[in-house]
């Protein structure tokens, strides 16, 4: 079953081979050669280190805020917590719905929006990441609490414990483990988000990467990528050591004021002087069906690539696990717009190319999920099949991929709405659609259109969520949210 999405790779490959042109091959070669000879110019390195600490700071700060806010909101969203305090639960259900739009809109879109509202300010990026992440964290926490049904709660309550004491003694400990690993994962996401925001001009290493790449200075690009890779490696090591993570957080916060302008932002709000007439005009002048259709197409194609590639690679490489992990790390490392530009050097622009750029990046995430799943799942079945005389590949297919296919696909569905949000970033390769229109509207300061596009995005994501929720119930599996 996890191989099914892989079938879509065939038409994609076909289309790509038609669009292939060798014109930029030497540029691509230069790019990869530069990987081994990053620029070591001390001035550049110093500025990169500065930039990477800005990125880290944005990520850590927004991670802390979103973990804290998400924690509180998550408790408020949980029906079980509401029941514990004697409420009926409708408030928490409503709060959950109320938070959905915040999750629905990509941090990049928030970032560009806040940039317009607050101007250049360190809080822009921090707030942009915190907002969707808090809402996401709240949902994950609420789901985790509500999906457990520990009987200890009743035991403690009937013994005279207050609702709050019961919360701290019975409800929190049982969700702590999952919460901890999830929040560790969120830091990794926050770093990648901060880099992406940088690519779109909110500062930090993403900005340096984007500007270097746009001026085709590959050696400088690679200095940045290596610095970033080191950061991600260190954070990944720390993922399982929360104490150290806290220390890193505190240290990077201590250096906060020198790196980011975190003064209180002043609102300059052009959004307020908008007339109904402008809204109507924007509504009529925009080809909505085409934009939404294009966005959905790219999303679905990218998702199938992201979901289909990792199992395929598993079958191709079998035991070479470290090779695959290197590949997944590389996919995650390079921000989507950079992948897109690199692909453009050798392929003609098309929506398929946009989907490939997105799909490759997210296959890095899916790949890691698959490896984690494989690690947790025993290989006994595969060994049994091998002893029955099955071939290496079919043993892996039935014995190892089989058991994990449901949670893996369920996670793929969750990924679908992340990818939908990410379509905003591939405008340049012909993956036009809502995202590109939004960036153009922001550049034209066309607020009426910006507002409408944001609404369209929110509506799409929420309906996507409904569909994926429905599919998950139909398949009888719940995504282990990560």
């Amino acid at each position: 079953m996890p191989l099914l999405p892989g079938l879509l790779l065939l038409p994609v490959l076909l289309r790509l081979s038609l669009d292939l042109h060798s014109g930029g091959l030497n540029l691509v070669l230069q790019f990869w050669q530069a990987a081994l000879q990053p620029s070591l110019n001390p001035l550049l390195l110093r500025s990169l280190l500065n930039a990477v600490s800005t990125t880290l700071l944005m990520a850590v700060l927004s991670w802390l805020i979103s973990t804290g806010a998400g924690f509180i909101l998550g408790l408020l969203c949980s029906r079980r917590v509401a029941a514990l305090f004697g409420g009926s639960g409708w408030m928490s259900t409503w709060l959950r719905h109320l938070l959905a739009p915040f999750r629905a809109i990509h941090e990049l879109v928030w970032g560009l929006l806040f940039l317009q509202l607050f101007g250049l300010n360190g809080w822009v990026a921090v707030l942009a990441i915190s907002l969707p992440y808090s809402a996401l964290m709240a949902r994950v926490l609420a789901d985790q609490i509500d999906n457990r049904s520990s009987s200890a709660v009743q035991a403690l309550k009937s013994g005279g414990a207050t609702a709050a004491s019961t919360l701290f003694t019975a409800v929190l400990p049982e969700t702590a483990g999952g919460l901890l690993s999830h929040s560790g994962h969120r830091l990794d996401c926050a770093v990648r988000s901060a880099v992406l925001l940088g690519v779109f001009g909110l500062g930090g290493i993403g900005t340096d990467l984007a500007l270097s790449l746009q001026s085709l200075r590959f050696h400088e690009v690679w200095s940045g990528l290596w610095v970033l890779a080191m950061l991600m490696f260190v954070l990944d090591r720390l993922r399982r050591r929360p104490q150290l993570l806290a220390v890193v957080a505190v240290l990077s916060l201590a250096s906060a004021t020198s790196q980011l302008d975190l003064s209180f932002p002043q609102v300059t709000s052009p959004l307020l002087n908008m007339s109904g007439e402008q809204l109507l005009g924007a509504l009529q002048e925009t080809p909505w069906a085409e934009l939404i259709g294009g966005t959905l197409l790219v999303t679905v194609a990218a998702a199938t690539i992201a979901v289909g590639l990792p199992p395929l690679m598993l079958l191709l490489t079998l035991q070479r696990r470290s090779l695959r992990q290197l590949l997944w790390a590389l996919m995650r490392l390079i921000p989507v717009p950079l992948t897109a530009l690199l692909l453009l050097f050798v392929f003609q622009p098309s929506p398929v190319l946009a989907a490939v750029a997105l799909g490759l990046h997210h296959s890095g995430v899916m790949g890691r999920v698959m490896e984690d799943d494989l690690d947790e799942c025993s290989s006994l079945q595969a060994e049994a099949l091998l002893q029955l005389g099955a071939g290496q590949r079919s043993a892996v297919l039935y014995g190892r991929l089989g058991p994990i296919s449901r949670p893996y696909l369920a996670y793929g569905l969750v990924r679908l709405d992340v990818i939908l949000r990410d379509t905003a970033v591939v405008g340049m390769v012909g993956g036009a659609g809502l995202g590109w229109q939004l960036i153009d509207a922001l550049g034209s300061f066309h607020w009426a259109l910006v507002l409408l596009l944001l609404l369209a995005y929110a509506a799409l994501t929420i309906s996507g969520e409904v569909v994926s929720g429905w599919m998950q119930t139909t398949w009888g599996c719940k995504a282990v949210e990560a």
Partner: protein, 307 residues
């Protein structure tokens, strides 16, 4: 382990809370909107970051010496961000492109154009084509119609020379963005990238800043077999310095004029000044006024980039 975890979670929360509060207090002690005694300069990011830093740090030193006020370069990394930063008062003097400068002035009452480079009064864009595209050099603008049905790349979406003016000249000759292959043009993100994607063949043609093109040609970084210039647009006014309102109130009577004079007075007489002019690719800065950009504003409005 899980019991250990719950402990750890609690401790990390506690630590994080303390750190966060400390950070917030630390931040709130800095004055809102930053230091008002420092002149903050910025620029739209149309070059590689290393060059931008070198260029504007040198310029900051020069201006600081000339005007006797602290000058700080604040890097901005996105065209729209520069406009917003200027509007919100985070930047006092910004090197804008034609379109972004007009956008910024319209959104920031009281701001004014100070100066441009000698080359900016008569700036041009070039149209380039891939060798295999079959596109021929254009002698008069009505031949632009041969671009219909081709894959065409602009640079950044808010660039004057890389998008606005090329699109305007095409429109005058009856070509709209949906006439290109795929129903829309591509946006490479920068002038350098436009050359790269056209040279590689991903796009058959593109338009960019003629200054960038010329410097590529001079440096021999262009393979004439693969990519060549097919047309140069008529001239228009582009890059310029825009100063915020109320600088006189903050830095003393007549400061805006002194600022303008300092910019215009940069001549290649010292090492530092030579570096500045060299990095800007100009012989000198010349006075400019709001009126020089009326035409750009009209084009911007016509193409929907100014509302």
């Amino acid at each position: 382990m899980p019991a250990q975890q719950s402990k750890t979670v609690a401790w990390s929360c506690l630590l994080a809370g303390v750190a966060l509060t400390a950070a917030l207090f630390g931040c709130s002690s800095t004055t809102p909107g930053g230091d008002t005694t420092t002149l903050r300069i910025g620029a739209i990011p149309d070059q590689n970051p290393e060059k931008l830093n070198r260029l504007y740090d040198t310029l900051s030193d020069e201006l600081s010496d000339q005007l006797d006020v602290p000058v700080k370069y604040v890097p901005v990394s996105n065209y729209a961000a520069a406009v917003t930063a200027f509007r919100s008062g985070s930047l006092d003097l910004v090197w804008f492109g034609g379109l972004t400068g007009v956008q910024a002035r319209l959104q920031t009452p009281g701001s004014q154009v100070l100066a441009q480079r000698d080359i900016d009064a008569e700036f041009t864009s070039v149209f380039i084509a891939n060798g295999a595209s079959g596109l021929k050099p254009i002698t008069s603008s009505d031949q632009l119609v041969q671009l219909k049905g081709k894959r065409f790349a602009f640079g950044s979406e808010s660039s004057t020379s890389g998008r606005l003016m090329p699109q305007y000249f095409m429109k005058q000759n009856g070509i709209s963005p949906d006439d290109f292959a795929g129903g829309r043009p591509g946006f490479s993100g920068s002038h350098d990238a436009t050359i790269a994607v056209v040279q590689s063949g991903a796009y058959e043609a593109g338009a960019l800043n003629s200054q960038v093109w010329d410097s590529h040609v001079e440096d021999g970084r262009i393979d004439p077999e693969k990519v060549s210039e097919i047309w140069r647009t008529p001239t228009y006014a582009d890059y310029h310095w825009v100063a915020a309102a109320k600088l006189d109130q903050r830095f003393g009577e007549g400061f805006t004029n002194r600022l303008q004079e300092a910019l215009i007075g940069i001549e290649p007489d010292t090492e530092r000044r030579r570096t500045i002019l060299d990095l800007f690719g100009a012989e000198a800065f010349i006075p400019a006024a709001d009126g020089d950009y009326v035409a750009i504003e009209a084009v911007g409005r016509e193409l929907g980039k100014i509302r």
